[in-house]
Structures are given as structure tokens and as C-alpha cells.
Amino acid sequence: MGLFRYTIFRLLQAIPVLIGISIITFALANLAPGDPVRLMLQGQEVDEELIRTIEARYGLDQPVHVRYWNYMTGLVQGDLGYSIHRRRPVADLMLERAGPTLLLVLSAYVFALATAIPLGVLAAKRRNKPADHVSRIVALVGVSTPSFWIGIMLIIVFAVQLGVLPSAGLVYPWQPPEAAGHSGYIEHWIESIRHLILPMIALGTLQMATLMRVERTQMIESLQQEYVTLARAYGVPERTILRKHAFRSAQLPIITIVGLNLSTALGGAVLIETVFAINGMGRLFIEAIQQLDYQLVMGITMVLGAIFVIGVVITDISYAYIDPRVTYGDRE
């Protein structure tokens, strides 16, 4: 099977999982007690006739399998449903809030990769020396600390005690500076970076710790390969060996971990957005669930699941493109 066919094959494989996600979200929302129309009316006394009219308008009077079919056909056409609670299409509500979350998650990954890769390489190079022990302690503490507590501690130290960084909200670099009350683009961008630093570290620490562990193990393994020994025997300087021979092959598993951890990072964004009062998808999810806004909750769950599935597929495909050793011939 060629690369192109492998790509198609992998994309097709994702379809059953996406259908599964839609079934789970639909089932959870339908198992829930209380129906959305009555919730929207918030206990007001209205006659049954009106309720039935509203139900008919949103297709809620249909049997379950018909409603699921309607939901599915909507999804295929990119229609995520209509929030009865907010009286707006779910897709619009989510688009408004997607920017902050993407900014947060991407910057957390940038932070994690920019710290984990050098530290992991250093730890592997100085194996069992102080630098290695320090990196292992950092990794251990990183995987053992709740991200939201890191956020709280960062706020207490840098916002409350030192007063050097803001503790809440984000400034969006894609907005015009006037909207945030800034005089020019330079000030605007500096402000958006200042707002981003603390939440980025809080969300990125767990990723950094996991990636650093993987990077260290992979580097140790690739430094033990025969071609590295051969390069050493030829007198190739250690720096060149690290940079050219060992480094490249050690990076592949990192790509996989980044893809697989996407789901943890998106879940973590819910917590971090709460700690730092950021109006992203995470907050939107919490608001939707508090208001029992079923359609919106279903939409968010569906999109988060889809992002993860697509992320994994992209990881797999890019893996096949980057590493010539990967056989994408038959299954597994």
C-alpha cells in the first residue's frame, strides 16, 4: 500500500470512532432526566399544548432513532445542532470561544516542547549525573501536581505577591489593539504574551514532564545504537553525534505522545480556563453543563472527540511520511 492509499485508509478508519462518539454523546444526553423544553421554560406554568408545539418545532417529539438520524445527518452537513437554551446555533457559539482555547493549548505545547526536548537530551547525555537527577525530579513533580494547583500557585506568586503578571483573562492578538484599549500593536502583543505566560505554564507542565521522560528514554536508547558506537569509533565529536546521529531518530515517539496527549490537554484547558477566568471552550462547556444545555454539551463533546481522532490520524500519517522504516503495508 502506498502512502496515499495509507492516508485514505487511516481516514476511513476514523469514521467508526467518530460515529461511536456521536452515539455516546447522544445516549448520555438522552439518558438524562428532565426534558430540554421544560428546562428552558424554567418551571413556568404553561399548558401542555405549548410544550408540544415547541417540541414539534425542534423535532423532539420524534422517537429516539429518528432523532439520532436527524442529529447524524446534521453532523455530516456540519450542523452541530441548535441550542434551545441560548437560541443560537451550537456551531456559532463554539466558534466564538474556540480561539482562546486553541491559543492556550498551542502555546502550552510550544512551552512543553521547548523545555522538554533540551532537558531530555541533557539528561540522557549526563545520565546518572546531577543534571539527570534534577530532570527526573522535575518530571516526577510535573506528573504528580494538579495543573489547576500550579495555576493557583503561579497566580499567588506572580500576580498577588509580586504583582508582575496579570491573573485573569487573555488578550487576543488577532483583535485590533483598540478593542483592548491599547495604543499600538507592540503594546497589544506584549500584553497578550503577558496574559498568556501563567496559564501556558500551568497547562504545559504536565505535557513537559511526560515529554521529557520520553525524550530522555529515547535519547538513551538511540545513543546505544550501533551506528552511534561506530561514529564514536571514527572519532566523530560527541556534539555532532548528539545533534546529527542520535537526535533525529529519538524524536519520532515525541510526535506520537503529542498526538495522544491532545485529549488530556483539551481536558486540562477546562480547568485552566476556570482558574484564569478565560472565556474559551472549556468555560463554555462548564456553563453549558450548569445550564443543562444538552445541545451545546453534545456539540462540544462531539467536537473535542473529533479533534482528538483527527489529531491521532494526522500523527499516524505524518509518522509514516517522516520515518521511512514505518511499514504501512497491512494492518497493525
Binding site: 461511536g20 452515539i23 444526553a29 489547576f148 493557583i152 499567588i156 485529549s263
Partner: protein, 341 residues
């Protein structure tokens, strides 16, 4: 035929461990002893073991000790009634009026007293007591949730791995689907929709447990794939033992070792997730002293006025999870020595 089958089943578990056809079983048993010996020699694993042991001890005996030692466990008077209650139903732990000042700093600062070594919370409750009691909620939630994931994952994983083919495909696809939605989001949806909008720690336990089924199923399945090729399985099948009994008596016991390691690590992850749930308000509910719940209150209004409210529960979570991680890592290194230096 019926007698042969039951005879075979009766003697089977012990028999194949000693018989020489059962290489795999012998290996796991020796492996366990060898593993424990290695863990004992590994310094980090030992530290982890001690931390876990201390936390478990505190969680188990805090309630028993609370009315014995006033200095250690702070304001005590109404705890005696609480002890009789099941673990998830702690009432408000409020000292009698006048006994504790609200937001008192820890003992090593000005205004602190030795009777409340970590200070008091906004309602005047002794914070040390609450942090100690928090270990009960966290540890029991961690263990129960992991057990649910372990049992569910073992059943699904062993059935999928043993039968293979279509059953395997369907089960594993279903399980991977659960894996795709961010666990925290899926658990909150589960808790809120199942409980009808009034969350409770019990729903959190079940929800967290369900989301762990995929990982356990996957590990068990990969072990089962190799175990099912063993001669003793073939022998049992030839003797007419029912599939259900083969899975229960031979496949599962012989696939279990790596899963136990994973379960240890998973308890730490569970505590982390439940802390997050409580922090968002979907785990333990207010009067219950839970670390995540305490952080929720501290984050809401007291980050400026009383930073100690944020510090202690977080440190407790950190130390507990670190213990489970160190111990689990040690077990893993002992079982899989490939990467060990």
C-alpha cells in the same frame, strides 16, 4: 464427560503452576517474588512505598484517632458522631462557637496557635484536620475508581483477546471511542446527566472508573493474546472446559501482573482527576473535606487574603500522587528491566 470437566477444573489452578507444561504460570509466580525483592532494593520505589503506606495509614485511622488526640487532629468535639457515618457522608466539621477563629494563619506565623498547626479555614474549622480527612476521600475514591476500571477492563480485554476476530474488533473499537473524548469532559457529562444535575462523589467514582476501562482493557488484551497460545489453555480446551471457565481460571490469572503495576500508577491519576472534578464542583460536595473542594473554595475568594488555604491541600495532593508514581515506577522497572540503568 461432566465429571471429567469438573475434576479438571478443580485441580487446574494449582496443577498447572507446578506442571512443566505451564511455563507462563511458573514465570509469573517466580516473577512476583523476584519483583518484590527488586522493589525492596530500589531506593525510589521504597520511598514511594513508604509515602503510600503513610497516606493509607492516615486515611484508615484518622477517624479512629480523631477523638483521642486533640493536638494532632484539632477541634474534636463533634467528630465522634461523624465516625459512625460511611466514608462519603461526612457532616460539616464545625468546632463549637468560639473555638476557632476564621482564617487563622498557620502556627509558625504571627497569630497562629499550636492547636491549629495549619491554621483555620474561613468557617473557623481546623485546617490540619480537614487536610488529614481529605486523604480519606482521595484514597478511597482512587482505589474504588481504579477497581471499577480494572474489573471492567479485565472482562472486556480478556473476552476480546481470547475470542479475537469480530468480537475483538467490536469491543476494542467501542472502548477506543471512549478514549477519544477528553476524560474530564466525559466524566462531567456522565456525572451531571446521570445524576440529573445534582452531582455527588459517588457518581464521580463510577464516572472516573468507567473512563479507565479502555486503558485496562488494552493492557489485558495484549497479555491475553500471548497467554491464549499456551499449551495449558489448549489442554483445557481439549478437555472440554467451558470458555467462560478457561477465561476466569486460566487466562485472567496469568495475564494479571502488568495490570497490577498499571493499577498502582492509575490510582495516582485517579486522585488527580477527582481533585480536578471537585475543584470544578462535580466531585465531593461542600461539607466533605476533600482536597480539590478545599482548593475550589480557596481559589474563589481567598487567594489574596489567606494563601495558606491554597497551599496545604495542593501539597497533600502532590505528595500522595508522587508516592503512588514512585512506587508504580519502581514496580514497572522491576517487571520490565529493559530501560533500567
Amino acid at each position: 464427560m461432566a465429571t471429567t470437566e469438573s475434576q479438571l477444573e478443580d485441580q487446574e489452578p494449582g496443577a498447572h503452576a507446578e506442571g512443566d507444561t505451564a511455563d507462563e504460570a511458573v514465570e509469573t509466580r517466580v516473577g512476583w517474588r523476584y519483583t518484590l525483592a527488586k522493589v525492596r532494593r530500589d531506593a525510589t520505589a521504597r520511598i514511594g512505598f513508604y509515602i503510600v503506606a503513610i497516606v493509607l495509614f492516615i486515611a484508615a485511622f484518622a477517624a479512629v484517632d480523631s477523638n483521642l488526640s486533640r493536638l494532632t487532629f484539632g477541634a474534636v468535639s463533634d467528630y465522634a458522631a461523624a465516625e459512625a457515618l460511611p466514608i462519603f457522608d461526612h457532616p460539616t466539621r464545625m468546632p463549637p462557637p468560639g473555638e476557632g477563629n476564621p482564617n487563622q494563619p498557620p502556627a509558625f506565623l504571627d497569630g497562629g496557635t499550636l492547636s491549629s498547626p495549619l491554621g483555620t479555614d474561613p468557617q473557623g474549622r481546623d485546617y490540619f484536620t480537614r487536610v488529614i480527612y481529605g486523604s480519606q476521600v482521595s484514597v478511597s475514591v482512587g482505589i474504588f475508581s481504579t477497581a471499577i476500571g480494572l474489573i471492567g477492563g479485565t472482562i472486556i480485554g480478556s473476552v476480546a483477546g481470547y475470542y479475537g476476530g469480530r468480537i475483538d474488533d467490536v469491543l476494542m473499537r467501542a472502548v477506543e471511542t471512549l478514549y477519544a473524548i477528553p476524560p474530564l469532559v466525559l466524566i462531567i457529562v456522565f456525572i451531571v446527566f446521570i445524576s440529573g444535575g445534582s452531582p455527588d462523589i459517588r457518581f464521580a467514582v463510577v464516572g472516573v472508573g468507567l473512563t479507565f476501562i479502555p486503558v485496562f482493557a488494552r493492557i489485558i488484551r495484549s497479555r491475553v493474546l500471548s497467554v491464549r497460545e499456551m499449551d495449558y489453555i489448549e489442554a483445557a480446551r481439549a478437555a472440554g472446559v467451558k470458555d467462560r471457565n478457561i477465561i476466569r481460571r486460566h487466562v485472567i490469572p496469568n495475564s494479571f501482573a502488568p495490570v497490577m503495576v498499571y493499577a498502582t500508577l492509575q490510582i495516582g491519576v485517579t486522585i488527580l482527576i477527582v481533585a480536578g472534578l471537585s475543584f470544578l464542583g462535580y466531585g465531593a460536595q461542600p461539607p466533605t473535606p476533600d482536597w480539590g473542594e478545599m482548593l475550589r473554595i480557596a481559589h474563589g475568594r481567598y487567594m489574596h487574603s489567606n494563601i495558606w488555604l491554597s497551599i496545604w491541600p495542593g501539597l497533600a495532593i502532590l505528595v500522595t500522587i508522587m508516592g503512588f508514581n514512585l512506587f508504580g515506577d519502581g514496580l514497572q522497572d522491576a517487571l520490565d528491566p529493559r530501560i533500567k540503568e
